[in-house]
Amino acid sequence: DTAVSQTPKYLVTQMGNDKSIKCEQNLGHDTMYWYKQDSKKFLKIMFSYNNKELIINETVPNRFSPKSPDKAHLNLHINSLELGDSAVYFCASSPRLAGGGDTQYFGPGTRLTVL
C-alpha cells in the first residue's frame, strides 16, 4: 500500500493554464505539506496543514491555493501557470507538526513543466 500518493506524476501544460495536483496519505497523520523542488534540487516548503487547518504559508504567490477536504487529502491548485512554476512538487505527511521530531513521509513527486 502506498503511504503518500500523488497524481499526476507528470504534468506538461502551457503558460496561463490552471492545473491541480492531488495528494492522499493513508498513514492516519494529522499534518500534510507541499514542497517545491527546483532545478537545483533545493527542497522548499510551501504550505502545511494540520487537521485541515492551514498552519504555514511560506509567502507563496496567491496563484497557488491549497485545499484540504479532510485530514487524509491535500490538493494544490495553481492558477495562471508561469514558466517559473516548472519544478517537482512533493506532498508529505507527518504524525504531528514538525518540531517534535516526527519523520516526514514524502510522496513520489509531480514533475510540472510549463511551456
Binding site: 503518500v4 527542497l43 504555514i56 511560506e58 514538525a98 518540531g99 521530531g101 513527486g109
Partner: protein, 110 residues
Amino acid sequence: SQKIEQNSEALNIQEGKTATLTCNYTNYSPAYLQWYRQDPGRGPVFLLLIRENEKEKRKERLKVTFDTTLKQSLFHITASQPADSATYLCALPNDYKLSFGAGTTVTVRA
C-alpha cells in the same frame, strides 16, 4: 539570516570507503536534526534523527554526529556500496516546519 549548508554538491568515492558528509547551520537552535536520502525521480526517505543531547547515532552502516557548539552534523556511510549512491539531505526544525539543505550527491564507484 538562517542558513543550512551541506559541504559539497557531489562526492565520488570508491566502494568500500567511508563517505563523510557535512551539514552546517547558522541562526538555528535545533532540538534535533534529521537526515534523508533521495534517489533520482523519487521523494526523500527518512534515515536518521539525532537530538541535541545526543553526540552520535548509528543505524547499520550509517553514523551521524551532532555538535551544537560547532553547529554541525556529520553523516558517515561506512563500507560504502554502489547502492548507497543517492542525494543526502539534512533537515532542521524551524517553527513547525523542516528546513532542508541543498543536499550532497554521493556516487559510489564499484
